[in-house]
């Protein structure tokens, strides 16, 4: 069912990471919301990471584990005092395990308006091929 009807967005607090591993740096860590979908040729991952600049986003792929790690600088300027604080800012961190079918050399990442689009192409052998049956 397609989302043709627009619904009203609900306010949601950002999900904080609860990893067993200790953080080496102080500050809050959040899990970015992601969409992951797959076509015959590639897997696409979209992640909401507001406040992250391209230079501060680390995408690391090691032994099939993909790690997204985005740093956010405090947006407030010097001398600004809080009036209302409804959301908090901090790093974004999330890990995914990839299958062997990803062509790791052709991964392509694009960060625009706080949304990351990561293209993970499948290796040639894994893309389905139609085989014509000769009569």
């Amino acid at each position: 069912m397609a989302d043709t009807e627009t619904k009203a967005l609900q306010a949601k607090e950002k999900a904080e990471v609860t990893t067993p591993a200790e953080q080496t740096r102080p500050g809050l860590v959040f899990t970015p919301a992601v969409d992951i979908f797959e076509t015959d040729k590639e897997i696409t991952l979209l992640a909401d990471m507001p406040g992250v600049k391209a230079g501060e986003l680390n995408i690391d792929l090691r032994e099939n584990v993909l790690t997204l790690d985005g740093d956010v600088k405090e947006p407030e300027g010097v001398g600004e005092v809080d009036v209302i604080r409804e959301y908090r800012t901090g790093k974004y961190y999330r890990q995914f395990t990839l299958s062997q079918v990803i062509d790791q050399a052709k991964i392509n990442a694009e960060l625009k308006d706080g949304v990351l689009r990561l293209r993970l192409p499948k290796v040639e052998a894994a893309t389905p091929r139609k085989i014509a049956v000769k009569g």
Partner: protein
């Protein structure tokens, strides 16, 4: 100790047992109410988008996280001391044949009105959207700015 507590319990001289129940209920309400408050114990409105408001000497700054939205997709207006922001977050349609593994990002309409503590110079309001974070800079009206008063020596 336990003995003292039980005997000190105010219901021992009860006039009405329901009064005590009512008191306990109020206390529970107060407890749960204080827990459901927003970040840092302040009341959050719970309306999308969540906003952080800060101020310095000259301006108010309203910030909201709106990933994927462009400045021209937002409708921002100011009157007196209120700021209203509305818009729609659209997620571009992907390949029809795409099979979703995860779908956590949400699309939809939103609209929010915030009252600021002082009057705003509506003509000089600026809004910027960078890296999915909207920042609205609202200069305080001259009348609302703090003024230094020089004391004259007589």
């Amino acid at each position: 100790m336990l003995w003292r507590r039980t005997t000190d319990w105010p219901t021992w001289g009860w006039t009405s047992p329901f009064e005590e129940l009512e008191r306990m209920r109020r206390q529970m309400d107060w407890l749960t109410g204080s827990l459901s408050r927003g970040v840092f114990g302040q009341l959050a409105a719970g309306v999308f988008p969540l906003m952080n408001v800060t101020e310095d000497k000259d301006n108010y700054y309203v910030r909201a996280e709106l990933p994927g939205l462009k400045a021209n997709e937002l409708d921002i207006s100011v009157t007196g001391d209120t700021l209203s922001i509305s818009g729609e977050r659209k997620l571009p349609a992907e390949d029809e044949k795409a099979q979703y593994h995860r779908r956590e990002r949400e699309a939809g309409r939103f609209s929010r009105i915030v009252s600021l503590p002082a009057q705003i110079d509506a003509g000089k309001v600026e809004a910027r959207c960078t890296d999915g974070v909207l920042t609205v800079t609202l200069p305080k009206a001259e009348a609302a700015k703090p003024k230094q008063i020089a004391v004259k020596a007589s």
